[in-house]
């Protein structure tokens, strides 16, 4: 898994300045993790992007008072929707992996049922991938990365 960049903060650093710095880094990590995320053959990619979306959402919530209210709500909503779409793809990925491991420990007579459930989850995974593809397109159309950077700039500029 891609490790989040360590961001040094100082106790006396202004809250709004830390907000700007951290949101820029976490937003960059989110969009850097988008490459190949729709590839169901490499489930770590969607995992990395989901973790990045959680970290970004967390810092947006931690630093909420630093951002202009008029812009903040829409940006947070878009990040949440992207995180939900990543979850809809990731959850069946994890479940399928767990069932594979479980099946390996089962008596042969019990394996067909588990394989049947995996088939069902594959269909859910495909639906999740379609949802994610739509959401990635939406994020691009709505300029989410640029809006996040603008939010960081506004936090830093406000005095």
């Amino acid at each position: 898994m891609a490790k989040a960049q360590d961001i040094e903060v100082g106790p006396s650093e202004p809250y709004r300045q830390a907000a700007a710095r951290i949101v820029r880094v976490r937003a960059g990590e989110l969009f850097a993790a988008a490459a190949g995320v729709l590839d169901t053959g490499d489930i770590e990619r969607v995992h990395d992007m989901r973790v990045a979306s959680r970290r970004l959402r967390a810092v947006l919530e931690i630093f909420e008072p630093c951002f202009p209210r008029s812009e903040f709500g829409g940006v947070l909503r878009d990040v949440k929707q992207l995180a939900d779409a990543l979850g809809a793809r990731r959850d069946p990925d994890v479940h399928i992996e767990a069932l594979r491991a479980f099946s390996g420990a089962l008596a042969a007579a019990n394996r067909p049922g588990v394989a049947r459930l995996v088939e069902d989850l594959r269909a859910r995974q495909a639906r999740g991938n379609e949802m994610l593809a739509d959401q990635l397109l939406r994020v691009e159309e709505r300029g989410l990365h640029g809006r996040l950077l603008a939010l960081a700039d506004a936090a830093e500029a406000a005095r």
Partner: protein
Amino acid sequence: MKARRVKGLDPDGALADNAERIVLVRLEELCSFMPTAADPDQVVALHDMRIAAKRLRYILEVCGSCFGPYARTATRMARELQDLLGEIHDCDVQIPETAAFAERLQAADAAALRAAAGAAGDLDPALLEQAPHARDHAGIAALEVHLRARRLLLFDRFLELWASYERKGFRARLEYAIAERGVSIGTP
């Protein structure tokens, strides 16, 4: 679960002063789920406690360096708790999903057997061998048993983990670490 509102945050104030307010609210939020979440049937409280642990973990990950070495320990503890509650939550989601899947297979087989019986006065048990999912039921039943047993085991681990946090003074030590960061930042 909607996060509790943190009052008195000041964008122009020092990071540590604001982080202190947030950590204290998130810590109180987390601890408030006990003892309710110690009841294994309180699925919603357990889920909400996981979210509260996640929120505490994230504020500590971002700002923990303002509060000395115990904040790092507390970050690890919040993460461990979040992970364990997440495993329990996965069971709470997968148990009913697996049961629903079993029900679907059984309903499909029942319909297929009824059709196979045609005009017979009663259903011949030998027809069961022809059910489309005849070979699938055992594995799904085994999975459901496994998930239920795993949930019991993980819940016991959760109770042990929380008891160990209480023994170690998790809450008091984190509150102390935050209070001990010294005089308010910016005070000469």
